[in-house]
């Protein structure tokens, strides 16, 4: 049961966003993906769930089947103007049991209510998702992950623009998942959150700057290196003469 990145390169119109990334995530623990804007963090997650096709290399989720994976998208990728109720959205977390056509049923709706209760939004079940604040909506998305009951949880910027209380409550969920032995990989921007909750960190700037124990990765020297790499992105990316080797 491991998540292995094997020389992974993903690009948008031939501009690599993730460049020859190799390594493996520690199973049953929490890893933060940290790095400047445009470092390829979200791209990496999308490649891992198969929403983007790599140019070369691969992300191998060994020992994880489809239904073992839960993914939290960035809020900007969700169209909240659609007339869908909170309960229905949470219930979509049962997809692996229902598929496109299957019935959610009373038991399923009960579980969805239960998940909403755990994120403190039980009273919001019948509301339209357009009527929620972004903090409340994030809680709803976490409730869906609870319902998915996945062993591998991928979170794309889960706490961006969240207030302190929401962030704290949701981080406690992450802590609980960690204790339950689930594998968590989260894109984060807050240094303190990473240090407090994530024992492992992948510092990414298109390429791996450092990957390992958080306290060894998030050093001043490494962070400076990540920022310096980002500063040179104006230039064309280096051409790789031999696949897999940076020249």
């Amino acid at each position: 049961m491991t998540v292995i990145l094997d020389n992974l390169t993903v690009s948008y119109q031939r501009h690599p966003a993730v460049h020859h990334v190799s390594g493996s995530f520690v199973a049953g623990d929490a890893t933060a993906i940290f790095g400047p804007n445009g470092a390829g963090k979200s791209t990496l997650l999308k490649a891992m769930i198969g929403a983007l096709t790599p140019d070369s290399g691969q992300a191998r989720l060994e020992g994880f089947a489809r239904q073992d994976i839960a993914y939290l998208p960035q809020q900007s990728e969700i169209d909240r103007s659609l007339p869908v109720s909170v309960l229905d959205l949470v219930a979509s977390g049962l997809w692996h049991r229902t598929g496109p056509f299957g019935k959610v049923g009373r038991a399923g709706l009960g579980q969805a209510m239960d998940a909403l209760e755990q994120v403190g939004l039980a009273d919001f079940a019948p509301r339209a998702i357009s009527a929620l604040s972004s903090g409340q909506f994030q809680r709803v998305l976490f409730a869906r992950i609870l319902l998915q009951d996945a062993r591998l949880i991928l979170l794309d910027e889960p706490f961006t623009a969240m207030d302190a209380k929401t962030t704290f409550d949701l981080l406690e969920l992450v802590r609980r998942w960690k204790e339950e032995g689930r594998t968590i990989i989260a894109v984060l921007h807050d240094y303190e959150q990473v240090r407090a909750y994530f024992p492992h960190t992948l510092l990414l700037a298109r390429e791996v700057v450092a990957w390992g124990r958080t306290e060894q990765v998030l050093t001043d020297a490494n962070l400076k290196r990540a920022v310096d790499t980002a500063a040179h992105w104006q230039d064309r990316a280096a051409v790789c003469r031999v696949d897999g080797v940076n020249v």
């Binding site: 119109q13 999308k46 769930i49 198969g50 929403a51 489809r66 239904q67 994976i69 839960a70 993914y71 998208p73 990728e77 969700i78 169209d79 659609l82 007339p83 869908v84 109720s85 959205l89 979509s92 997809w95 692996h96 229902t98 496109p100 056509f101 339209a128 991928l154």
Partner: protein
């Protein structure tokens, strides 16, 4: 009372062609209403218009080969519409062009071919018929087609409802659970084409879009749930059809535009007064919060 009967009921009781037209309108409403609603929710309101133009050359080829034959023209229209949808889909997928632009490009190509074919082979009367149709001339064959399409549409929508809604709402999540969003999208586009083809005998390729979009947009102003909107869209479409037929009967107006204009009046009224999104309720609420 007798007067109301003469006005609203008698035309349908007295004339078989009016009854047939009414049945056609009901079937069209049941199919096109929900399809239009999904187009609105997926922010593809103008896609219906594009597809209605795309259907034209196929209908023209059908006409050239078999004359004014409904099966031939319908089949031709369907093939042309699906071809444009597939080509636009491929162009979107394999180039940097966005979907709306791809559709614009391919439907314009298709339309130009269609106009060329019609003007080379038919008279203006034929062109008028393809563009504007006539619900009062709906025969049994057309009625079977329209009601068959409505049935297929409702059954298919029931099947693709969940993945399609999720694909509009949260596409990356759908990918993450391993479902192919593009597949449902394509199935949906086929339903759009199918409904436009079924509408064109009755309303013409241009007006068929009206019965698809206007009731759907109106429904969005009245309800905040998908179920409520579906009921509303179908109802508005059917009532517009019936009222349009009566107007066309009493005042000797062409039926297609009469139907669409009634739907348009529903829309304009809703735009001002509808509770779930109309301008006046919103304005009044805003004032309330001010004080």
């Amino acid at each position: 009372m007798q007067h109301l009967y003469d006005l609203l009921i008698a035309p349908f009781v007295d004339f078989a062609f009016m009854r047939r037209a009414l049945a056609g309108c009901l079937a069209l409403s049941l199919g096109s209403g929900p399809i239009g609603l999904f187009l609105v929710m997926r922010r593809m309101s103008l896609m219906g218009d594009a597809m209605s133009h795309a259907v034209l050359p196929g209908a023209a080829v059908g006409f050239m080969l078999a004359g004014l034959s409904l099966p031939a023209m319908s089949l031709g229209g369907f093939v042309a519409g699906v071809l444009v949808a597939v080509l636009a889909g491929l162009a979107t997928r394999f180039s940097s062009i966005k979907e709306d632009a791809s559709f614009a490009a391919f439907y314009l190509l298709s339309l130009a071919i269609g106009v060329l074919l019609v003007s080379k082979s038919g008279s203006n009367v034929d062109l008028m018929h393809i563009l504007f149709g006539s619900v009062l001339a709906v025969d049994d064959a057309a009625l079977y087609l329209v009601s068959g399409v409505a049935s297929v549409t409702l059954i298919c929508l029931a099947f693709i409802y969940r993945p399609m809604l999720l694909e509009s709402l949260d596409p990356v999540f759908l990918r993450s659970v391993g479902a192919r969003g593009g597949l449902w999208h394509m199935a949906f586009l086929m339903l759009v084409v199918l409904n436009l083809v079924s509408g064109f005998q009755a309303l013409g390729t241009l007006m068929a879009v009206g019965l698809m979009m206007l009731p759907a947009i109106t429904a969005r102003l009245w309800s905040e749930s998908v179920e409520g909107m579906l009921v509303m869209a179908v109802s508005v479409a059917f009532v517009s059809g019936m009222a349009g037929l009566l107007l066309s009967y009493h005042f000797e107006l062409p039926s297609g535009p009469a139907i669409i204009l009634v739907a348009g009046l529903f829309y304009l009224f809703s735009l001002l007064f509808a509770p779930a999104g109309g301008a006046l309720p919103r304005y009044i609420r805003a004032r309330h919060f001010e004080s």
